[in-house]
Symmetry: C2
């Protein structure tokens, strides 16, 4: 029985999430007897609730293919979490109405922890509300904090960006240190898990190379130890390069750079650990320092994407479709690492019940004893994820722009106000 | 008569200054009857004063060639300005002592405004102190603010980094805007001249593309107009992307993000316009926003260097040597743009007296009437400078590391304390 598919992007986007979108759309075309059109939700699950559906069949195949070179979420993303069926049945009834109106039998939701939760809830519609749907969550997050999967599409490219940036900036600091900047701080994302911070370690070729200090959200910030460490490194090495996670917390469990703003998921909105540390170093050590905050740059830097990451982003999209047409529901295609010495990986299905809302932090065995570095085990895990380059085409000196028509499907229902 | 050459790097480094160094060293090898060894000063002019000379003849030619892919200043840079001959003759006497001790007849100084001043002063040693020296300053600065030259090596690559970053990040913001981030701010370098900020405009393909607001140091910050502009753009476009120069000033002439720290040249050390603006937008407009500060990342991003910039960085190095062996003194090889429609350029010598300490700001005709954008004239000037890619070799997922032996020349004089 032929059904249409719904695909949407959710949560913070990555430099390769559109590669996953392209894979879903292109793979779907291979199952003409089972999948009709692929409708993309405008702004994630909101697109389904509002009946804001984009008809991807109106796009040229070449335009869809070019999505693999386009960062951001081409169909719009959202930070919006469905309540449970018990708490807000109205939302689910609406989803079923929209699915029915557009003959949707496949639901692909591309996101992180919160999105896996949404997908998990939608997957229950089949049993609880009697509307048959094959719901597949597709992994994506620069935070690399999804459970079960070995790693998350989007992370490898952000990690490559961070490692490359630290390597390049440290050569700059090294040359300035004699008469100017002695300390450089790069603030990276990763609210609760230090994967992105750990990736800074990949900048190192020789033992004394930058970064010299890594601050993880998993390790309580010890000001005294931190300052002593910098002092020692500047004395021995001439300069000190620090990678600091935005999620570093003090003894009281407060983010060093807590802001009182919250996002739509109720999470504190962070940013500002680097200037916080810079101030501290000025005051206590009087060492000239510079700092950078990459923020969105690190998760949208498609120009320095990891080829491995890109391939995995495409594979999870492809397998999501394969699982759906096999009739699976409530699963996620996850990345499984081979056990051999040479890095290898394959895709496997995993139940969403094990993934939704679980946060995978950096294991203790990945952090050095002093808490300022990673272990060899961490590097062995991380290194393969950034391997290979996948430069996009350039036009006029910048990455080529790949815009879509984004033609909306005609609405059939009354409008929906959240 | 064969003489040795001295080459040094000064001021803030760039992603392509080492390409210039490589060109100087390799071109020098072509004049075996005139140039002996090329000694690189460790940490700029300090290397000459301290007799800290690196013997570049000990390096493999392939290692020198690889410098074109290595950001930072491989020989160490400095922020150190010579006083005038009148004010501090001791320094000049010392330079002559070092030059004599090591038979140095060529002096190449690779830097910006302050460095052109140093080179200009050294060039006067010939006449004032009777020691014959051919002194050539070689342009380099991401600030693009040197006089006479059409543009400065290092700027094109920083500009390409900024344009690419804005383009990529804006796709991220666009996808988040519906339920999350509405405003994104990228702070860029350029203390007194808005060239780097202007480069953000190159991210645009279509009229409404990001960036939507550019803040220049040349334009007094008007808070009310700025906030109104953001409000309008968010209303019309859904989101607003801002590029802000670190050097933006208020009506009183104060940097928006003034810090009380100063560098060795006595310049205020900036950084923090982006968080300043973010706070303002939170308070006055209550719009969720994100901000990034690229700092050293933008001037060391060799991985996204402009091919045009790289070629020019090499050409000024090559021509510096050509001028020196011709017996020129007190000049700089500058870039001259051809007058045709198609972009072309060549290298010409220009007198340092016209360049030292002069700062070339963004011309008024390059800034739009409302002060928040550039004109077509600016884009016509800027675009060619970022054209072409020159990706470095990668190894293990990061740009290949190119380290030198950096073997010091045996000292012949007593040590020197500044």
């Amino acid at each position: 029985m032929k059904k249409n598919a719904f695909y949407a992007q959710s949560g913070g986007v990555t430099s390769v999430i559109n590669a996953t979108a392209a894979a879903v759309i292109l793979e779907s075309k291979k199952y003409k007897s089972k999948i009709g059109k692929v409708y993309a939700g405008k702004n994630g699950i909101l697109g389904a609730l509002r009946e804001d559906l984009i008809d991807t069949s109106k796009e040229k195949v070449s335009a869809i293919r070019n999505l693999r070179e386009t960062p951001g979420g081409i169909f719009g993303s959202c930070r919006f979490k469905l309540k449970s069926l018990k708490e807000n049945k109205k939302e689910y009834t609406r989803l079923v109405d929209v699915f029915k109106a557009h003959d949707i039998g496949y639901f692909f939701y591309n996101g992180g922890n919160d999105s896996a939760d949404t997908a998990f809830k939608v997957s229950q519609i089949s049993n609880e509300m009697g509307y048959p749907i094959n719901c597949i969550a597709i992994p994506k997050t620069v935070d690399n904090d999804l459970a079960v999967t070995d790693n998350c599409p989007g992370f490898g490219s952000a990690a490559k960006y961070i490692a490359t940036s630290i390597m390049e900036a440290s050569l700059d600091v090294a040359s300035m240190a004699e008469t100017s900047t002695k300390v450089f701080i790069l603030e990276v994302m990763g609210r609760h898990a230090g994967w992105m911070a750990a990736a800074g370690s990949l900048a190192r070729v020789d033992k004394n190379d930058a970064p010299h200090i890594i601050l993880f959200p998993e390790i309580v910030f010890d000001e005294k130890k931190f300052l002593m460490q910098i002092k020692k490194i500047v004395k021995d090495n001439g300069y000190c390069v620090i990678v600091a996670s935005e999620g570093v917390k003090n003894k009281k469990g407060k983010f060093l750079a807590e802001s009182d703003r919250k996002d739509a998921f109720g999470h504190s909105q962070l940013g500002g650990v680097a200037p916080f540390l810079s101030n501290l170093i000025n005051k206590k050590l009087k060492l000239k320092n510079h700092w950078a905050v990459s923020d969105y740059l690190q998760r949208s830097a498609r120009h320095i994407a990891s080829k491995t990451d890109l391939a995995q982003a495409e594979a999870v999209g492809t397998y999501a479709v394969k699982y759906a047409v096999k009739g699976m529901n409530g699963v996620m295609p996850v990345i499984k690492r081979g056990s051999g010495k040479k890095y290898s990986w394959k895709i496997e299905p995993a139940s969403l019940s094990k993934i939704a809302n679980v946060e995978k932090k950096l294991p203790k065995s990945y952090i050095s004893k002093d808490g300022f570095d990673v272990t060899k085990k961490a590097i062995d895990y991380l290194r393969p994820l950034i391997l290979g380059e996948a430069f996009p085409k350039f036009s006029n000196g910048i990455p080529a722009s790949n815009k879509l028509k984004l033609q909306m499907v005609k609405k059939k229902l009354k409008s929906w106000n959240i």
